[in-house]
Symmetry: C2
Subunit: 265 residues, 2 copies
């Protein structure tokens, strides 16, 4: 049995290309269709109501691409809109929060930190997911609003980024956490600066890797695997030149071709 | 003769509150209705096509508020969408680019710098406006993508902001410009850090002040003045908690009440 339908990936922008890259490494035979809602990004600074509205609209669009499952790469959407998306889609929907929480619990000795956008942190989704699985886990969360703009500027290990990381991540130093969830698709790009600010002894959990592992398991378990030659379509709702530039930063060495689509709105 | 209709102000977000504050200082008897399209911000990273589409929709909404003129506080909209807005509105439309360019030309000895968002700088609107009035003016422009997130973080004169300003503004130092246009509504908030990076000898042109002076002149010239008791309505399309917080930073000492409105989309 093979299932040649593509795997759909949805993100507010192009940070989710880190999730796409992780999925392609694990499932090279699969076809992917990626939608970045670049006309409305960022979602991470907006209210849950607005995030749900945009996400449901995007999911409806992706349903028209005959996807066999939907991966929600965006932490803000995963945190606020997963129930609404599960209701709107007829195929399995996998967000990044639950896989990230499970991976963190497998690693931690009991004290987990979470960093993300303002909306992800305000939602409390990671805390809920962590405590549902292990009620006595200690969780410290903090929003890091400048990390996305710094990543998009390409300043991944820049002195300014190291200084901002030292300020934002101070609550996670000195043994106060042993594991830190990178709860935003852009943050793995800043890994060297984040690691430097934390010092040794804090394990970093990349939610892109966590969700890719979970998708791989689901595809195997439900016999959804495609044996096609791979391939990916990258759809965006706004095609500013910076989007191309940042996509090239995230997927170096790849000829990135972004197709502009119009989401009915 | 008095004209009690409100003055409409449109911005992609709440940075335009710096323009509102400048207008209120000059025209305390006027009523204002402000619309910030916070559900779709920022515009400054998006393509001209998307900016025009969003701006025309917002102008149509403001036309329903019986405004006597429309002030476009957003530089990205002023740079890309002014002709479309003038066509869509039956009342005068004033953007920030032309007033900023005129103010800079009144101040400069011949070398003008422009800083703004990526879309404002890519549009070349300030260069065109400057050269149309003085063809031999030398213009140097540069996008400063981190300035808006730094302003919204409240790091107006923070060491990190000073370091970023020193990096971004290096092309404007050493006598290479004598006047610099702050071509984004947020940038006046960072004035101390910007001034420190430039050193003495560079005059800063605040486009918020420039447009407020031009609106004051237009109101007097066309006899559009209201003698009401002032008053302002602040409308936003997304009401995330951070919007309230940043509005409070920009308008300190004011009881800011944001009303959530739904822009048909």
């Amino acid at each position: 049995m093979t299932d040649a339908r593509p795997i759909a990936i949805f993100d507010s922008g192009i940070g989710g290309l880190t999730v796409l890259a992780a999925l392609q490494r694990r499932l090279p035979g699969e076809r992917f269709v990626y939608l970045g809602d670049t006309a409305r990004l960022p979602y991470g600074t907006k209210s849950a109501e607005t995030v749900v509205r945009y996400a449901v609209r995007a999911a409806g669009f992706l349903a028209g691409h005959d996807a066999k499952l939907l991966v929600v790469a965006c932490n803000s959407v995963s945190a606020s809109a997963l129930p609404a998306l599960e209701e709107a889609m007829e195929v399995p929907v996998i967000g990044v929060v639950a896989p990230g929480a499970r991976t963190a619990l497998a690693a931690t000795r009991g004290r987990v930190g979470v960093i993300g956008t303002e909306s992800t942190v305000a939602s409390g989704a990671y805390e809920r997911a962590l405590r549902a699985l292990r009620p006595d886990v200690e969780v410290t969360a903090r929003a890091c609003p400048l990390f996305v703009p710094l990543a998009e500027e390409g300043w991944w290990d820049h002195p300014v980024t190291r200084e901002v990381a030292a300020l934002y991540l101070e609550p996670f130093t000195g043994g106060r956490v042993d594991t830190l969830i990178l709860g935003c698709t852009h943050y793995p790009l800043l890994r060297p600066a984040i690691a430097a600010a934390l010092g040794d002894g804090v394990r970093l959990v990349d939610s892109a890797e966590a969700v890719a592992a979970e998708v791989e398991a689901l595809v195997a378990h439900r016999d959804l695997g495609g044996k096609g030659g791979g391939g990916v379509r990258l759809l965006v709702t706004d095609a500013a030149a910076r989007i191309d530039r940042i996509a090239g930063l995230i997927l170096p060495g790849t000829a990135v071709h972004l197709e502009l689509v119009d989401l009915p709105d």
